[in-house]
Symmetry: C2
Subunit: 368 residues, 2 copies
């Protein structure tokens, strides 16, 4: 389906302006093209050459507007929504401006350096009646919904006891010297912002977004010479009387891992690719329920079952589709923006802040 | 192979006396029979009826001596070694006595309530020239050796970053009311002793038994009304300059899990049945090395490989065989007892003590 066909097919495709040409924008621009209810309308970078280069290299349609500044994208009245993959430090400035120019906002994660900044963004979105969503793609995969179904089954899974999640990458020397994600003036949260975002959201997702009462960082994070976190972990508690706890670990210094394990009183769920599935069209997870030992504890009565979930569109296209659907219902029927996605982002950022505070306090428990 | 055939086949099968008729003794008595260099010579319980019942129900040979006390087993000069599955509180008393009567000692885990008690046991074994080993069966599975080989390969795995391990069971009401493992006067360490023993040893195994510098319990453990731990976790650190960390979680309140995940700079290893393999004759683990994302991070270049390892004998029989081999070399060539196994037990107990201390101190880091 090309751009023109899509424009004909849906009444009102959401017209995206992309602000910034980060690596991740390549994947999301492909997703905007794949989603049935959105098109790329404009791309803006700090230089028009960079924007043009991005458009050419990513095969964007020749009708896409090329701008040499972020402002021009925001000023274009035909742009309905912006996708913003800027360095975290710049989010509050540009996201607030986007909301003020009535652009719906798909914002890369981490959404902000601290929850106070995110609150400014969310307030701007709310008062301007525009939709907010962060770029956590895995939340939109049908596998995520299927996992939730099984975790919610009291017989299959029972009561939640433990969640463990990792998000790690092994980065190159070049990354550690030049990447924005290890620069205190660009992405000051380092691995904590970039990779633990997923883990924290996954933990919140598993507990139906019930905020932990206490967040306790694990000693000792690894930092670079500028003090930016390269690896760290934390544990979450929901009160002394609540049995469940959670742990996560994030790192730029470890082989790729995207583990999520959820343990309940009757069952358990495991997957090793929760953030980016191994393959686009189908993803799986392991689920075990009612496992027991055989006589004399010589073995187990069962092994985990692999549950396969097909996906017609890649998860990032489903994210764009969901976002564009919400935008369209605001545009067509004057609905208020959906509050679920901003609230998930806000809670994730709140917990992330608490992890940072616990690190600063020498790994003391921080109350939320 | 029956008992007589085995006695003929090997010059000097190690003659075991079993002290106590715990559930686990059924599995280990089968293992003693399966191992090619050991036989069950005697069984002792606090009542002769209980010992006789155990012998009958477990099909022990009619020539096995049945004793109505532990002392009689220790006093029998034909008993070379004792297997001791007594409640932890009784270990120091009976294990020291066993060593003093020159019986080699296969002791169930947790080895003691605290490392000072274990030191008494180990000193008694050393000064009496008898072999000590604890009952951690999984350490003797060929899979464990294969995993170590792969984790030691600097290209395949690289430097160690994170170890995560769980050992959980979902127990019945009957267990919580009556089992010795939740009674302060019998197994006062509860889940921390019974199940975290495996996790702590697995973590030490993964780091080649380098003791952590700091042990920090996770808030908040779940305890029964007697204060016995039913669920808890901890993290281990090897110093502020050492990137690697470890976490574990143990519980009597969660569905069965026996997870071990080891993450390195180049690879990672996962298995979900490290303590008791799903099946006796073959076990597996997942190993991944050099995983990267495909272009645009749309997927991964590879999935983990499942590595299968066959086992001719169950791991508990391999444990008995290894123990009996060490006993035989002491008996036949006057070797000193092997120091590797007692040292592994001692380090495990030392770390376990530190976890308990950190819990008592309100989850503060405890230096080792």
């Amino acid at each position: 389906m090309n751009r023109r066909e899509k424009a004909n097919m849906v009444d009102n495709p959401v017209r995206f302006g992309i602000i910034g040409c980060a690596e991740i924008a390549k994947k999301v621009s492909r997703a905007i093209n794949l989603a049935p209810n959105s098109i790329i309308y404009a791309i803006g970078s700090r230089s028009i050459e960079k924007a043009q280069k991005f458009a050419t290299e990513n095969g964007l349609s020749e009708t896409v507007k090329i701008y040499g500044s972020y402002e021009e994208v925001l000023e274009d009245p035909c742009v309905d929504a912006v996708y913003m993959p800027l360095p975290t430090t710049l989010h509050v400035q540009w996201a607030v401006l986007a909301a003020q120019t009535k652009k719906h906002l798909l914002l890369e994660k981490p959404t902000a350096l601290k929850v106070a900044d995110l609150n400014q963004i969310l307030n701007a979105c709310e008062s301007n009646g525009v939709q907010f969503m962060d770029g956590s793609m895995w939340m939109h995969h049908p596998r995520t919904k299927k996992m939730k179904e099984m975790l919610s089954d009291p017989k299959l899974f029972g009561q939640l006891r433990l969640i463990h999640s990792t998000s790690t990458f092994s980065e190159t020397q070049e990354f550690f010297e030049n990447n924005i994600r290890v620069k205190p003036d660009l992405d000051a949260l380092g691995a904590l912002g970039d990779t633990s975002w997923y883990c924290i959201m996954a933990i919140l997702w598993a507990v139906n977004y019930q905020l932990p009462k206490t967040v306790t960082a694990l000693p000792f994070p690894t930092c670079n010479s500028d003090g930016v976190i390269l690896a760290c972990g934390a544990s979450f508690q929901w009160g002394e009387q609540d049995i469940k706890i959670a742990t996560f670990y994030c790192s730029f210094l470890s082989n790729v891992s995207m583990d999520l394990a959820v343990y309940g009183s009757n069952g358990s769920l495991h997957l090793k690719d929760f953030i980016i599935p191994y393959q686009e069209n189908s993803a799986s997870f392991d689920f075990s329920s009612g496992a027991k030992f055989t006589e004399l504890h010589l073995g187990w009565n069962l092994k985990p079952t692999q549950v396969q979930v097909a996906s017609e569109l890649p998860q990032e296209a489903l994210m764009v589709q969901e976002f564009a659907t919400l935008v369209n219902s605001i545009r067509s029927s004057g609905c208020k923006p959906d509050r679920k996605w901003p609230e998930i982002s806000r809670k994730t950022q709140l917990v992330l802040d608490a992890v940072m505070k616990s690190i600063e306090l020498g790994f003391k428990p921080v109350d939320l």
